[in-house]
């Protein structure tokens, strides 16, 4: 990295060629390679996962992602519980944006039990507000966090402070800061408290300032530019090949957004166009997320302006202790801050689900894609690449 910054290229002629056969036959006893572990306990690693790296000098020649440090068997646990008991378990499958799990599991159960058409309008708007607030708090951590991986820690402190303000709004809306259990089968748990919109607007104004400041701090910063430009390029051809979704796909010009492609709730009533870029590198992905930050603030304002002031928030549902759902299966998806996030849900006519399978973007981004993108990268850029793919281990080892 430092060589790149100084414009100095070391003489690597005497080293084995990096294009030589790499893979399982790397001979560590040749003393030309070294194996190092990044994580699972490392501040640069996104959660509890580790990457096993084979390096030659500073250059990664092979990488393997290892997960399993966090495995709590959520899918299995949900199979052994009543439908409603699956909720507190499911929200922990993605810590970064737990509300997405609430929406998915609620919608799956509603679809399979025939209640999906009965969800009140007000509840749909509140669900949308909750999901966009979740996206916002994720972006407030994620956008400056990308700078943090390149030693630009100041923005992270700004972002974490503002994220806390959004968690304050979550607390008054739902009673909890991180795991909300707000979206439930049939609707949501509560209306907006008095004065919520005004307090949210105050927070959004602070975030408007932050958006300008973070732009100056990161995107006008020569170190960030030098390190992020041209790093870990994802091309449009790779998108389908690897199953790339969300801002990682949009960063290389492939405009995919579930909110537009397969609108759910009332997204078709909102005016927005998912941002894209063309370069596909870490800089482009971060730039797209920065633009998405602006867009999310705007969407929250639109939702608060368009939503009704009052209305039913929940349709009557069967007694949750005796709730049985007919045999069936479905797949429900939404656009999380990291991309397409879906749930495959199977019922067998009993009072418990037969199978629950979460599809998170990290499943492909953090394993097949990350392992390939790291080959040839500088070891100091590994964190930057990992964060730019928005890897989230809990959604891999559900």
């Amino acid at each position: 990295m430092i060589n790149k910054f100084l414009g100095f290229e070391p003489d690597k002629e005497k080293l084995p060629s990096l294009t030589a056969k790499i893979g399982d036959d790397i001979d560590l006893s040749s003393h030309k390679y070294q194996k190092i572990w990044l994580g699972p306990n490392h501040p640069g690693v996104t959660g509890n996962m580790s990457v096993e790296l084979w390096v030659q000098g500073n250059t990664v020649v092979k990488a393997k992602t290892h997960v399993g440090y966090l495995h709590r068997g959520f899918e299995k646990l949900i199979e052994r519980r009543l439908f409603v008991q699956g909720f507190p378990t499911s929200i922990r499958m993605c810590v970064a944006e737990p509300d997405t799990n609430e929406y998915l599991i609620a919608t799956c159960t509603e679809q399979l039990s025939g209640y999906d058409k009965a969800v009140p309008e007000m509840a749909k708007w509140l669900r949308m507000l909750s999901l966009e607030m979740a996206r916002l708090q994720g972006l407030l951590r994620g956008v400056p966090g990308q700078g943090g991986t390149f030693a630009l820690g100041l923005g992270v402190q700004w972002g974490v402070y503002l994220r806390d303000l959004i968690l304050d709004r979550f607390e008054e809306l739902t009673g909890a800061r991180v795991y909300h259990m707000y979206i439930i089968p049939g609707g949501v748990r509560g209306l907006l408290p008095d004065g919520f919109k005004e307090r949210m607007e105050d927070n959004l104004r602070d975030i408007d300032d932050f958006i300008i400041r973070i732009r100056r701090l990161m995107f006008h910063n020569s170190v960030f530019k030098k390190r992020a430009k041209g790093l870990a390029i994802v091309t449009p051809e790779m998108v389908d090949k690897y199953g790339i979704v969300g801002t990682t796909a949009r960063g290389c010009g492939v405009k995919r957004d579930v909110r537009k492609d397969d609108p759910y709730l009332h997204y078709e009533q909102l005016d927005f166009d998912p941002p894209t870029d063309t370069d596909g590198d870490v800089y482009a992905r971060t730039w797209v997320r920065w633009q998405e930050l602006i867009q999310t603030v705007d969407l929250i304002r639109q939702i608060m302006a368009k939503m009704p002031d009052k209305g039913d928030i929940k349709t009557p549902m069967p007694n949750v202790l005796h709730w049985k759902i007919p045999k069936g299966e479905t797949y429900v998806r939404l656009e999380s801050g990291r991309g397409e996030y879906g749930m495959y849900y199977v019922t067998d006519g009993s009072d418990k689900p037969r199978r629950v399978n979460l599809r998170g973007p990290s499943y492909t981004h953090a394993i097949a894609l990350l392992e390939d993108l790291l080959v040839g990268a500088d070891v100091a850029d590994v964190h930057g690449i990992m964060v730019s793919l928005q890897t989230c281990p809990p959604e891999i080892e559900r």
Binding site: G243, G342, L369
Partner: protein, 186 residues
């Protein structure tokens, strides 16, 4: 979607089609043609995005249900290709050559359900449960509670109390607990 399913039925022996919603259809095919159908959908019908691969354990029927869920970014529709394989000596042809991330799913299914995918890269490597020696943990007959009790109990401070019975003992320590009261507690 129905037109497409009718067209595919001629070549791929589709035994069942469920139209879950206008944009989502599940089709069932025999084990031998599943990969061919998935390949055809990818190469000729525009289902280029591999959403996920999953498995359901229908233990009562002695079958595993494998699912390949594909998405068409142009038509914004999904097709779930399902096939059933025997639980005993479960094995399925690998699809790792079609998409880069498929081997990860197959590696997880080998570990979690014990389904083998011969030829799939790193299929025998541990995924999330390193050093696991019990039966594959996502099979229906793997009893998580029994496993926990055998592995982690008894341990000081880990006693489990029924809340109602516990409160009764605390509040009325001298009152005998009758069978009727125990039933009421439940």
């Amino acid at each position: 979607m129905k037109e497409l399913i009718n067209k595919l039925s001629k070549d791929f022996n589709i035994t069942d089609a469920v139209y879950q919603r206008p944009s989502l259809t599940f089709v069932t095919v025999p084990k031998g043609v599943a990969i061919s159908l998935v390949t055809d959908l990818r190469d000729y019908e525009g289902y280029s995005h591999f959403v996920m691969m999953s498995c359901v354990d229908w233990i009562e029927e002695g079958k595993f249900q494998l699912l390949y869920l594909l998405h068409n970014p142009e038509t914004k529709t999904d097709i779930g290709v399902k096939t059933f394989i025997d639980r005993e000596n479960a094995e399925m042809a690998s699809a790792h050559h079609l998409w880069k991330q498929v081997w990860t799913y197959q590696r997880e299914l080998k570990e979690a359900f014990g389904i083998d995918f011969p030829g799939s890269p790193r299929v025998d490597e541990d995924f999330v449960v390193e050093g696991w020696v019990e039966m594959p943990h996502m099979r229906r007959d793997f009893d998580t509670k029994e496993y926990s009790e055998n592995t982690y109990f008894p341990r000081p401070g880990r006693e489990t109390n029924d809340p109602a019975t516990y409160m009764r003992k605390k509040l009325y320590p001298n009152e005998p607990i009758t069978a009727k009261k125990q039933d009421n507690d439940k």
